[in-house]
């Protein structure tokens, strides 16, 4: 407010990237709709192929524009356009963005708690004279009274949940230590110890990739050996949607970490001026905290 360290606010040139990204999103969304339209109406099967192409076109537009947009921001950053005032805007903006991400995950955690605490026990608690689900106990983990899906068919059966103290525990250790290594890298940056910075960042990226590999292995096991799929009722849906969206965020975070690592290796960032680094670090810690929630409520309890 009253004490800006500089007295000029940087208002960037006009930019075409946002409008093209919006067009790309339109193409991606309508392409997706066309490619799955046959699920609800068999007559629409002919839309599948054009839908796929629209998705590819949309993805190309979005990715190339994001690449150019971020490139423009990095150029502005290294040419010294952003000073204290702009830096503060980015900081507040990133905090608010992370809050909105928290709200997004809250919806899925909310769905998990609702099904686990309310709807599954209720379905198991009806009077035996009137319920169609006489053998259903309503305990968690549950595939619901309808049973579980084996090779696409919904069949009654028992569910083996994903055990917490195997791969998930290793993943917890990986992510927690990546939080430590990125902080260590940050210390290196503040002390202007570039070697510590780069080693720390490289370790963080490696831990992120290791997490993703473990997660992929776990999904593979779930689908091929355990018969646990997205179709496995309340447990399968909440398990895969929560861990899936988290994994997607880890993937985005890892890509951002790689970009930051490359920028560190090019000599970007100074001990005083490194919002790009910090923003990604905050995001990474957020992803880390979500994982702790997942580990406790999805895997462990």
């Amino acid at each position: 407010m009253a004490t800006h360290s500089n007295n000029q606010y940087y208002v960037p040139h006009g930019s075409i990237y946002p409008a093209v990204i919006a067009a790309g999103l339109l193409s991606l969304a309508s392409g997706f709709i066309f490619s799955v339209a046959t699920d609800k109406s068999k007559d629409l099967a002919y839309l599948q192929a054009p839908g796929k192409w629209m998705m590819i076109l949309g993805a190309i537009l979005i990715l190339s524009m994001v690449f150019k947009w971020m490139g423009a921001v990095i150029t502005e950053s290294v040419t010294g356009q952003f000073k204290g005032w702009e830096d503060k805007s980015f900081r507040i903006g990133m905090i608010v963005f992370i809050c909105s991400e928290v709200a997004f995950f809250a919806a899925f955690f909310g769905a998990l708690f609702y099904m686990r605490v309310l709807s599954v026990p209720e379905l198991g608690g009806y009077d035996l004279d009137i319920t169609p689900y006489k053998d259903f106990l309503g305990t968690w983990p549950s595939t619901g009274p309808g049973g579980m899906t084996v090779s696409g068919e919904f069949k009654p059966g028992t569910l083996h949940p994903m055990a917490a103290w195997g791969l998930p525990a290793i993943n917890t250790a990986l992510l927690l230590s990546s939080g430590a290594t990125i902080t260590w890298a940050h210390w290196g940056l503040i002390k202007n110890n570039r070697k510590q910075l780069i080693i720390g960042m490289a370790l963080t990226v490696a831990l992120g990739i290791a997490f993703l590999v473990c997660q992929a292995t776990e999904y593979h096991e779930a689908y091929t050996e355990m018969g646990l799929t997205l179709r496995s009722g309340a447990y399968g849906a909440s398990f895969f949607m929560l861990t899936g969206f988290h994994g997607f965020h880890v993937m985005l975070g890892t890509i951002m970490l790689i970009v930051i690592l490359l920028r560190c290796m090019k000599g970007h960032f100074t001990p005083e001026h490194h919002f790009g680094f910090e923003g990604v670090a905050w995001y990474w810690h957020f992803v880390d905290v979500v994982w702790l929630g997942l580990f406790v409520f999805v895997y462990w309890l």
């Binding site: 407010m1 208002v11 930019s15 990204i21 997706f32 629409l44 809050c99 709200a103 619901g144």
Partner: protein, 530 residues
Amino acid sequence: MSTTTVAHHEEHAEHPTGIMRWLTTTNHKDIGTMYLTFALIMFFVGGAMILGIRAELFKPGLQLMNPEFFNQLIGVHALIMIFAALMPAATGFANWMIPLQIGAPDMALPRLNNWGFWLLPPSAILLTLPFTLALFGIGDGALATGWTFYPPLSIQGGIGVDFAIFAVHLLGISSVLGSINIIVTVFNMRAPGMTLMKMPMFVWGWLITAFLLIATIPVLAGAVTMLLTDRHFGTHFFDAAGGGDPIMFQHLFWFFGHPEVYILLLPVWGFIPQILETFSRKPMYGYKAQVYSFWGVGVLSVVVWAHHFFTSGMPVPALLYFMYSTMAISLPLAVMFFCWIKTMWKGSMSFETPMLFTVGWIILFGIGGLTGLVLADVAADAQYHNSYFIVAHFHYTLFAGGIMGIMAGTYYWLPKMTGHMYNEKLGKLHFWLTAISFNLTFIPQFFLGLAGMPRRIPDYALQFAEFNMISTIAAFTLGLSQLLFVYNIVTCARGGKKATAQVWEGAQGLEWTLPSPPPYHSFTEQPTVK
């Protein structure tokens, strides 16, 4: 400290012209103008849809359309009016006025701002494309579930539901970006001396709106994502066979949906005291009380959602909790109404168009609020639920309380934006036509609802015929009188009597210190507020 200037990377001479100016702009006024224009266009698109509905309801029996198409019009009308008319209009004013009111050079994140706007046209295309596709034999039209997407109907529906889901996703991204920008601008771009408790009420209204959007829009995004996976990838979030529950969707949806009401209204509540103090020529009464009431409403709005589905089945303690917490919202609102009336008290009032709309707004929104109190009563709600009573109620809050407020703001700031005075006589005519035809449209609907006419049904029993006829005639009058609004705006933008910097004799605040229209970069030198 009043030496702040914009870094001139965007000189006048460098502007692209024509379509490229609008596609690429990072200027808050350009973006605000695009938001407002988009909102006005979509207001007519959504309005045309509902006139189709009212025409069908002119007399009993099926005349013009089949029930499926009727349902589609209803759902898309609501989505367009809420997400593509009212919200963009409020965001347009935020873009135009927040930097002017807090003495900022521009919005804090200009490129993000541009993206926020350009997500809207694709969303509008996604909402309306299914109608066009159906004409070519692709799919069966838009979503026919009403705007609330309740499963299991929305899980069984055709591609219209998918289009609406993705439209909501894009609109949600747009809202979150806009909110991030507004929060950052308010916290980081205020002029020296402009403390939080000196901010104009409109800025306060939008700040709390932005917090509500950040907290609730992602939950809606999550809910419709679950709907999408239930539709296409075999999850069972809303299917009891898999342990899910269709009512869970109602909880998730209304956790967003109720705050959404205040997201639509809080910016307008910010207009009201500013217009009142201008045309009463005295400072507003109870500034602090109004700010705290805004906070009170904002906080309460996220803990009352289940009053939208009292009849869906809930334990009695939950019903009681949601009833009392809903009624509690009337307390901060009563404080605001008191402050607004007290602001006018003993003022030297004059009734230019913005003031007419504001005074009309206070009365009509008051009716909307009081009928809401009636609906909050669990026992009485069983009769009102899903009837035309609720339709009339939320049009009193969202048309009178939302759109008429936006119109008040439009007339209030139009001379500032365009540099010309609008036609006062036409403005007053527009107000009277709007206010009278609005009441004639919706008062009959209160009685229809009390008598048991259900909403979202294309046909009705004979005893409802007269009131529906009145409602339809009034609705067409209401729709046509909005053409006056457009005419007035367009002629005002093109020319007319020059507006002074202050425009209104009693106008207070930083936006009135700049010339009308303001220069391309609002405050190249940040003013100091004492």
